[in-house]
Amino acid sequence: MTTAYHQSTQQWEADILGLFANRDKHEKAFTNMVDSYNELVQKLSYYVEQNKHLESTTQNAKDQHEKMARQVTVLREQGSPMNQKRSAELEAQVASLKDERAELYKTQGTNAQRLLDLNDILRNKDATLAQNKEEIRRLTEANTIFAHKNQDMQERLNEKNVTIQVIQDELQTLQLEMGKLDERQRELERENAQLLQRWLKMKNEEADRMNAANVFLENEQQETASLSQPVQSPGTRSLRSVGPDSPTQSNWRGQSTIFSIIPQISSRKITTHDSEVNTVAMSNGGTVFATGSNDKKIKIWDVKTGALKSTLTGCLQAVMCVSFNATDELLLGASNDNAARLWHLGTGRPRHTLTGHIGKVFSARFNPDSSKVVSGSHDRTIKVWDLQKGYCIRTMFTFASVNDVCLLDFDGSTIASGHLDNNLRFWDARSGNCVKEVTGIHVGQITSVCPSSDGTQILTNSRDNTVRILDVRTYETLSVLHADGYKTGTNWSKACFSPDGQYVVSGSADGTLYYWSTRDGTVEKTTKEQSGPIVGVSWSNSTVVSAEKDKTVVIWGTTARRPTVYEK
């Protein structure tokens, strides 16, 4: 099967292949054409693509071109954005420059204004300068004139000096003359005093003789009376002394009841302290006087010589009041240091310091037997001190500051006090009660109270420039003493009676001493030696001591033992 089959297959193959070849001749003839056609188609499509692409590119280019053209036109109109920006910038710059310029104009304006102002100021300054120059010229002229005047004055002064010299020479000669005249006067005075002394001695001798005779008579009478029934004597006919006072009660002050003469002659003027004098008191014997001052010292002076005997220190503040005791051994000093001090005059040493007051002690007094001291103070109390015990035994509340106290009885049982409230009060020393308050007597504060030597009257000095004398028993005003020109100088100015009670002396604010007569209340005499206010007067025997605030004390006497000497 196989080979035959094979053969036939081969045959068939060959046949068919031939047929195929034939077919292909026809069918494949177009291959080339188809291929080239396809190629062309491809190329065509490619070119179409390209064309499209190119067209699009050209379109793009055209668009670009158009855009550019538009831009160019825009630029032509407005310039590029760059230029626009630049022009905007420039415009801004221009605007700012314009602003600056405006500013500069403004500043220029202000500067011009300032310039004008400164010119004005300059003109004013020139004017003032011219004025000043003018003034300087005037002043220099005046200066020269004054220089001339000065020269003239100098010359005149020289002349005057020459004249003074001449006058001094004349004065000296006159002084010499006066000295001589004073000598003469003193001589005469001495003679006068001597004569007076002799006459007084004679009178005293007579009085003594009289007294002795009286005593003798009395004794005889007594003898006869004791022998027989006591016969009522017709009355003691006492040989009276010339003085009007009754001598029966021997003056408890221990002073001789001789009539007082107003001392008129200032025998001594002493500058006593370094600062103001507040008080002066003469001793009961009349030999010394004491002064108390703001310099805290008390000075003891001799009356006759005016010499300083001793100085008592110890007070811490100003001394307002000094007072001697009955025997003149002790001295009380009341001080603004709220204490009163006691010195023994013989030794000059302080004995007691009486503290207890709570205000300035304006006054302190011994009682007659020097066992007690009464002090009055601005703390409105009166204190009674026992000197043996050494402390205050009674305090009396007085309602008003005490300016002065004094004791009335000779046993010191009644105390009188003058107050700031213009009232006078009387106190019982033993009970401490206010016995009487005398009001309505003064219209100014009472500056001093002074008892009379017989204890029946009391003298009050007051700031209302009057001095009153009151009766101690009836508390009635006996007389009011005043005078034109009499003004109480200080709140503690003291007035006092004369030893015989006939006169009252007080110092005035201008340094004048006024002497009133107690009987009729008229001014008997005024003496003036001092110029400042009188702070106190003290009369003993026939000597008055007056102290003025201005540190001087004048001793007034009745005889010119020596010519007035101005002593320190």
């Binding site: 089959y5 036939s8 297959t9 193959e13 047929l19 292909d24 177009f30 188809v34």
Partner: protein, 297 residues
């Protein structure tokens, strides 16, 4: 004849090769009415040397591209493309060679002209009015491939009585057949196909043959076995006699030309060749012998 070659190497078979390389020039142009409608200036769409073994749908892609390029606005899609020749819609599931044989050669013979019909074959592409009563609509891209594979399966069934052989082939082998077919790769295709065709040496039960008659007669498909009852291999004449006894008598009357002849692949083969050999060698890629009958007047 390389019956004993079992390797997947493509056998050297000049006939098969010649068949494989057969091609006809086709000019596809667009229907003029449609072209006017769509604003295309030229009608000629495609001029190509199409392989006889290929199918029309495989050209559709390119045709469509050209249509798209030419048309101004195209709203239809590719699946609407159909072809016709002289008013007759072309069945797309026939191989191109078969279509040409049917239409050109057969028509020309019927008209009495034995000259070769004019080449290139001018067919007209249409985009609209798909003739659904005449043609099967292409539903998917793979329609052609599915139909091709179904023909191969049918051929296998005819040969072996079951499609076991084809179905047992791996997916990649099946696709290799199709791929080889449409990429025109002889080696790829015949590497697979020979297994089917040669059938491991076993004799086919029936031969896969289809006979096409002119003037739209229905297709004749008779089961013809390659061997006759005595075990002799049948010739083509005998096979045809079984199928169309009137047209193909067993013996030619002397003195008269044959009544009809058979056209395949554009040639008229001798009818005395072995049917089996014929079926093995002259088959189309889809393993069928598509025989076109030309009636001689």
């Amino acid at each position: 004849m390389t019956q004993t070659q079992q390797s997947s190497e493509a056998p050297f078979n000049p006939v098969a090769r010649a068949i494989w390389e057969g091609s006809i020039p086709i000019e596809i142009s667009w229907d003029s009415a449609e072209a006017n409608k769509y604003g295309a200036k030229e009608r000629c769409l495609l001029m190509t040397q199409a392989s006889r073994c290929s199918y029309l749908p495989l050209l559709t892609n390119e045709v469509w591209r050209h249509i798209r390029n030419k048309s101004v606005h195209m709203s239809l899609d590719q699946s609407n493309v159909w072809y016709e020749y002289e008013g007759v819609p072309l069945k797309w599931h026939y191989p191109i060679g078969l279509l040409y044989d049917i239409h050109e050669l057969q028509a020309a013979a019927c008209r009495g002209m034995m000259d070769s019909p004019p080449l290139p074959w001018k067919i007209v592409a249409h985009v609209e009015d798909f003739p659904v009563e005449k043609l099967i609509k292409i539903t998917s891209e793979n329609s052609c491939q599915d139909y091709f594979m179904s023909m191969i399966k049918e051929a296998d069934y005819l040969r072996n009585g079951s499609t076991k052989k084809v179905m047992n082939m791996s997916k990649s082998d099946q696709t290799q057949l199709w791929d080889g077919m449409w990429t025109k790769s002889y080696e790829l295709f015949w590497g697979m196909n020979q297994k089917l065709v040669l059938n491991d040496g076993t004799m086919a039960r029936y031969l896969p043959v289809r006979i096409y008659l002119p003037e739209n007669c229905p297709v004749v498909q008779e089961p013809v076995s390659p061997m006759d009852d005595e075990g002799n291999p049948r010739t083509l004449r005998q096979i045809l006699n079984i199928a169309l006894p009137d047209l193909f008598p067993l013996k030619d009357t002397p003195g008269q030309p044959a009544r009809a002849s058979v056209l395949i692949h554009g040639i008229v083969p001798s009818l005395d060749s072995s049917a089996l050999w014929f079926a093995q060698t002259m088959a189309y890629p889809d393993n069928f012998l598509h025989l076109v009958v030309i009636i001689n007047i």
